[in-house]
Structures are given as structure tokens and as C-alpha cells.
Amino acid sequence: MKIKRTWIINGEKLEAEVPPMRRFLDVLREDLQLKGTKEGCGEGECGACTVIVNGETVLSCLLAAGQVPDGATVTTVEGLEKTLGGKVLQAAYIEKGAAQCGFCIPGMIVSSYALLSRNPTTDAAQIREAHAGNICRCTGYDKIVEAIQSAAEQWPVEAKG
């Protein structure tokens, strides 16, 4: 019971042969050794496992590997530094003190990247709504919002889409 899929993960073409219902999170972490993506709850509540599939944020703990279509483009936290927008976001998160323990951050910053790629907004309410599915227990969120606003101001034209 295995299926074959070819995905473009963080810009690299990868072939996988996996049980169809294996959680995509386990495929990323265990099979592909992309350990940046985290598991905080395993039930779609915390958002630490957020990745981008074909432009949309999804929870990889609730996603069956077979449901990630053949040819899908996947971005995980490891892929951010390969993009202009990702670098801007990382720098803003660092500068504003948006990360504390850091465990929610791989999912959080991936949500930020997806949001700003669609809509480089500095509107705090929009930013907060787009991150309501990413739970952080350390920061109280204010510095995360500040970081995203700061990244949006510098959002590279090339990354707008």
C-alpha cells in the first residue's frame, strides 16, 4: 500500500513512495528529514505544522500524503531562506524579537509568508486574523504582528504575486 508522488519541495523536485494515508508531517519530518516543521498537537489546533501547498497554508498533521497532489509545490520553513520574501520575514522576526521559545515559529512564519505573498498588508487586524490558527504561548503575539508589518513594508516586488 504505497503511492508514488513527485513534489517540488522548497524548489527541489523530490520523489516519494509512501503509504497514502501517512501524515504529510511525518513524510516531511521522518522520510525527508525536514525537521523544521513541528508537531505541537497532532490535531490541527496549534498550527506548528503549517506548510504551504500550492500557495495555500495547510496543516500537515491533518493532511494525508496522498492528498498532496502529484506535482504540488510545497514550501516549508526550510524553504524560506531561498526566497526574497522569506529572507525579509526572517530578518524582521529576528529584529523585532518575534521568536521566543521558537517552537511555533516554523508554522507561524510560513503563515506570514503565505499571507504577504498574497497580500503584503500592514493592517494589524488582517495579520492577526491570518495567524489565528497559529498558537504561540510565549510572545502574546504583539511582536509577531510588528515583525510581519515591518516585513510587509519592505516586501520585495519580486515576491509579490
Binding site: M1, I3, P19, P20, M21, R22, R23, D26, G42, E43, G44, E45, G47, T50, E56, T57, V58, L59, C61, L62, L63, A64, G66, Q67, P69, S111, L115, E129, A130, H131, A132, G133, N134
Partner: protein, 294 residues
Amino acid sequence: MSTKTPTSFEEMDCAFPSSLAEALDLMADESTRGRPLAGGTDLMVQWESGVVNRPERSISVKGLPELMGISEAGDELVIGSGVTHMQLRSSDLVQKHVPSLAEAATTVGGFQIQTMGTVGGSVANASPAGDLAPSLLITEGRVVVANREREREIPVTEFWQGYRKIDLQPDELIIRFHLPKKSAESREYWRKLGPRRAQAISKVMGSCRGQVLDGQIQSFRVAIGSVAATCVRLTGIEEWLLNRPLNESTLAEVEKRVTEEVQPIDDIRSTADYRRWVTGRMVRGFLENWLEPA
């Protein structure tokens, strides 16, 4: 199918049909049939936590082209069962013609759940706290289900038969929803009370659609979730309100009558007493909206 229950995701099989016809073919035969799996936002959690036994096989209906799309057909909106909450909330058609449904979709989970979860999945999950149910109920629309041989239409009001029980045969899939649009003169409202302001399962939530002319209630439908085994229409108060003047004495009576019409329970999210009271208050609040300009 054998009776062996898988104990992990890795032991589960899943088919990935590329068309609805193929999916219905698989569903037609007991040897190939499986649990339909759409966005997975409910089922994956239920399987992992053991609330629901893992089936040996699933059929992924996610993204099947025949289940996608939101369109108009005369006085109705036609919404595919594979439409996601994110598509629902972003749709101009839904925002215009069934606005409470668009608003309800914004309160389902966070963005990730909204991009994964589907209308069909939410309806099939049949939770009394399913956020879309009230807005579907007040449209008095129809659910279209199909097996390989035929389609079948069921009034939304009859689709949920009991706690997590739906009118769906083992060989059928939910295909689409036909939802009568609200008239230009009518309005819809939605409200959800939860333990926090986002990503919450409701304590009580509900939608209404109604029309008030010259201070008199012409029509009013209201459905409330999380106060019974299924989301419920409050037909008692709907009937009582017809042709009544919209004034303080009516509102006071509405509160009292609604409180008598629902029988909620105590659970982890709220208390029966509060739910009963606040349901009355919520229906009052809906009606009070007509006292303000649209």
C-alpha cells in the same frame, strides 16, 4: 471488506479517483468502497484520537472537479460539496446571496482549516456545532447526493437525522447544495459565541433570515447550533413571529419563548442554563438588527 481495523495511518489504504464517476464507481462496490475523505480536518483528528475507528480504506474526494464551484441558477446558488471554507467566505455570490454563510465560514478554525475543510465535509461530519449548518438550514435549500445510478435531492432540513447521523446511503456521496438566495428585501445575520474570538468551537451559534416591512415581521427563519443533538430550526418562534410588530414587547416575548423552545445540555464548553438564556438573547439580538438601518 475484511473487518480488520487499522491501528495507524500507515495501515490505512486510500483511493484517489480523478473524477466523480470514478469515485462513485468505487463507492458502488462493497469491495472497493471506502470512507469518503475530503479536507480531513475532522476525520483525521477523529481517527488519530480514536473517537472513530479507522476504516481500512478511504476514498479521497478532495478537489474532484465535479464537486467544485459556486454558481447561480435562477433564484438559487449552487455550491459544490468540495468548496472550501476559504472559497466560501471569499465568494462574491455567497456574500451577496447567503451572507450569513460567508460570515459563518470566516469563523471556522484558522486560515489553514479554512483552506482545507469543505462544505461537504462539514455537513457530513454532522456535528451539532458545525458552523455552516444554521445558514444552510435557513435557506431551506436542498442537498444533492448521488450514487453511480442516480442523484437524489434531500431538503437540508431533513438531512441531519440525529446526533452525527445523516441521510446518506453507503454508496452515496454528497455532491452539491442548492440554496435559495435571500430576497433583496430580506436580511441575514450570524452570531457565534465561543470560548475565544477565533478558532473556537461554539457554545451557541446561529443564523437568521428574515424580512421586516413597516415595522412588521413578514418572514423570519432562525437556526441555532450547539443547543441540541443537531443544529435546529426554531420553528415555534418563527411561526409566532409572523406578522407581529417588531417592538419591545415582541422582543421580550421572543426571549421567553425561545428559552422554552430549546433544551441544551451542560458540556465542556458551556452550561445548559446559560445556553438556554443566551439563545433567547441571541434571537432577540438578531431581531434588534432590523431596528437599525441595513
